[in-house]
Subunit: 345 residues, 2 copies
DNA sequence: CTGTTAGCGCTTTCAG
DNA sequence: CTGAAAGCGCTAACAG
C-alpha cells in the first residue's frame, strides 16, 4: 500500500498551516474562498483522502454502528440488516457486522470487539443460546447506545424493537377458525424461546376469544429440526381424531407439516389448513402457497437504526420500546373457503 | 457515553510509564511478569478496553475488510457475506459492509468511504449498472488489496473469484438435451452483464458440442424484471413452433417462465423443461421443484476473503483468479424422463 | 481569515 | 526490563 497524502502535505505545498487546510476541507465558514480553492485543487492533484481514523480518534465518534445477528444469511436477518443499513447510510453511518452463529461465546467476543472499536452504538439480536447477559454490562456501564431487535430480553435494560408475535399468532389462529376449521393444532418451537412462547400465547388467546377448546394432544413443541418436526406432525396426525388445521411456529415447520400431510393423502387446505410464521420468500413458491404471518423485517431494521441514531445524537439513552404489527398473508394453504368455492365442493 | 480508561490512566496509577503498560498489554517478551500482573489487574478494575482506533492510526492497519454488494438481502449475497465473515473472523478481521443497491453512484460513494476508513482491503461484487470503472483507480493507485467476486470484470485489474458460469450453463443445457428436449431456448439477462454473457456462452457451447442448432428466435434477453421476463417468455412461447425447453439465466426468471407456461396449459416438465441458475432457497419448494445450477456461494465468499487476506498479509498484490465449479441440481422441472416413467406415458 | 498549540490513545524506536 | 520522546493525521480552542 502506498502512502496517503495528508493535510500536512497540502499545507506544506501551499505554505499555509494545517488548520487552514483542515478548515478548507470541512468547509468551515471562516475560510477565504481563494485559499479553499487552492486547497481543493491540491486535493485532486495529490489524490488526498481524509483519514477517518484520525478524525474519529479526536472526535470520539466513529460514525459507525455495530450489528450482531445470529446468522447473516437467514433471510429474516439479512432483511433486517438491509433496513439497518439503509437508515444508517441515510444518516451518515457505516455498518460493522458480526455473526454470533447462535453461539454465546461468539456473541460475547463480538461485543468485546465492538466496544474496542469504539462504535457509536450497537444493534443486536440475541443468539438462541444466550442465557446470561453479563456481557452487556460493559455496554451499559459505558452508556453505549444499544438497541435489541427481534430476539430481545427483559434481562437487558435497553431499547428494543420486536414484532407483535402474540398479535400475529392471534390473527393466524383466528383466521383458521374463521375458515371453518374446528380442530386446531399448534406446532410450537423450543419452549424456552421467547418467540415460541409468544406465538403459543397468541394461539391460546385466539382460541379462548373464540370459545374454542384447546385439545392438549394438539399442542406439540419441536426443536425446529426437520426430523423432530416430522416426528411431532406424525404424532398429532396419528391421533384417533387428528386435527384439521395447524398453526406452526414458523414457515419451515409449516412446510414440513404440509409435506407429511400431503404424503398421507390429505388435501391442503381442504382436509387440513396450515399457517406458518415469517413469510419466508419460499412461501410464495410452495405448493400450495403457504399462508404466513409476515414480520416487517426491513422496517424492523430501520426502526432499530432510527432509535439507535436518535440515542446517539441526542446523547440520551431514554429507553424506547417499539412493537411492530405483523400481518397475516393469506395464501392457498389455509384458504378453505376459496378452495371449496373454486372446486364447487 | 462515559470516558474510557486509557493506558495512561493505568500508568499513572501504577507509577510506571505508558510504554511499559503498552508492553504488558501486548504481552511483549521483555516485560516483568510482576509488572504485567499488576497491569492486568488494573485493567479489570478500571474496566479498560484498548482503543483500536489509536492502534490503527499508528500501525496503519485497521484489521477490517470492506465488502460491497448490490443487495444485502439477496440470498446469494447474504450467503457470500457469511462466507467472507467466517473466514475474516477466523483470521482476526472485522467486516464493514455496504450495499450499492445496484446503483453506480452508491457504489462509487461506498468505495470512497472505505478508502477514507483506511480498510485493509476490499471485496466487491459490482452493481448491474456499473459500466465505468474509474472509481476503482483510487484503489489500484493506493495498492489497496482488492478482490472482486461473482460480478467481476476484466476492466479492473484485480484478483477475483467467480463461478464457472460457462461450465454450469453447459451442464444445464446438456442436461436438457439429454432429457430429450429438442427445441431449446435461452432467456438471458442484460447483455452487458458479464454473467449473462457467460451463461449464454455455456449454452451455445453445449448446443454446439451436441450438434444442436440454435434457433435465433429462441434466444431472448430480459432485464430481469418480472414484467420484462413475462414479455420475453410470451414472445418465445407464441412462436409458431415454440421451444420445448428453456435454460434461464436465473431462478426467478425460470420461475416466472414456469408460471406463464403453466398458465397457458402446458405441463412442466412434460411439454417444456426448465432449468434455472443459482439454486435459490425457493427452488426446493416451488412446484414443480426447479432444477437449477448451484453456485457455492459461501465458499465463494470464503475464497474471496482468503485471497484478500493473503494479499494483505504478504503485502503483495499478485493477481489470483479462482473459478469455482458449479453443479447442476436436477429436480422435477427438467426431469422429463422420470416424469414419463412415473406417469407411464 | 489564519496560525499556534495541544492533544486524541496508542506504538515504536532508542537509550539506559 | 523500563522510560523518554516522537509521531500516526486530524480537530479544536485560543490568539492574533
Amino acid at each position: 500500500m502506498k502512502k496517503n497524502a495528508t493535510i500536512k502535505d497540502i499545507a506544506l505545498k501551499l505554505n499555509i498551516s494545517i488548520s487552514t487546510v483542515s478548515r478548507a476541507l470541512r468547509n468551515a465558514y471562516d475560510i477565504n474562498p481563494e485559499t479553499k480553492k487552492k486547497v481543493l485543487q491540491l486535493v485532486e492533484e495529490l489524490d488526498y483522502e481524509p483519514n477517518l481514523l484520525a478524525k474519529s480518534l479526536v472526535q470520539k465518534k466513529t460514525k459507525t454502528i455495530g450489528v450482531i445477528v445470529p446468522e447473516i444469511d437467514v433471510h429474516f436477518f439479512a432483511s433486517c440488516i438491509r433496513g439497518i443499513y439503509e437508515e444508517a447510510y441515510e444518516r451518515g453511518y457505516k455498518l460493522l457486522i458480526a455473526q454470533s452463529n447462535e453461539d454465546y461465546d461468539l456473541e460475547v467476543e463480538s461485543i468485546q470487539t465492538m466496544v474496542s472499536s469504539r462504535l457509536d452504538g450497537l444493534i443486536v439480536s440475541l443468539s438462541k443460546n444466550t442465557k446470561s447477559f453479563t456481557h452487556f454490562d460493559k455496554i451499559i456501564r459505558r452508556e453505549i447506545p444499544l438497541v435489541l431487535f427481534d430476539r430481545a430480553t427483559e434481562n437487558i435494560v435497553s431499547s428494543n424493537v420486536t414484532a407483535d408475535n402474540i398479535g400475529g399468532a392471534f390473527e393466524a389462529t383466528e383466521h383458521l377458525i374463521n375458515q371453518g376449521y374446528t380442530r386446531i393444532a399448534h406446532i410450537g418451537g423450543p419452549e424456552n424461546l421467547e418467540i415460541s412462547k409468544k406465538r403459543f400465547n397468541g394461539f391460546k388467546k385466539a382460541m379462548k376469544a373464540n370459545s374454542m377448546e384447546i385439545n392438549p394432544e394438539y399442542v406439540v413443541h419441536c426443536n425446529l429440526s426437520k426430523s423432530d418436526t416430522i416426528l411431532k406432525v406424525k404424532k398429532i396426525m396419528s391421533l384417533p381424531k387428528p386435527p384439521n388445521a395447524i398453526f406452526a411456529v414458523n414457515d419451515l415447520v409449516a412446510s414440513e407439516a404440509i409435506d407429511y400431510i400431503k404424503e398421507i393423502g390429505l388435501n391442503i387446505p381442504y382436509h387440513v389448513g396450515v399457517v406458518g410464521f415469517n413469510n419466508a420468500p419460499f412461501t410464495k413458491f410452495s405448493h400450495p402457497k403457504l399462508s404466513s404471518v409476515n414480520i416487517p423485517s426491513q422496517e424492523m431494521g430501520r426502526y432499530a437504526a432510527q432509535i439507535l441514531i436518535k440515542q446517539i445524537e441526542d446523547n440520551n439513552i431514554r429507553i424506547i420500546t417499539e412493537k411492530l404489527n405483523c400481518n397475516l398473508i393469506i395464501r392457498e394453504s389455509s384458504n378453505r373457503k376459496l378452495y371449496i368455492q373454486e372446486h364447487k365442493i
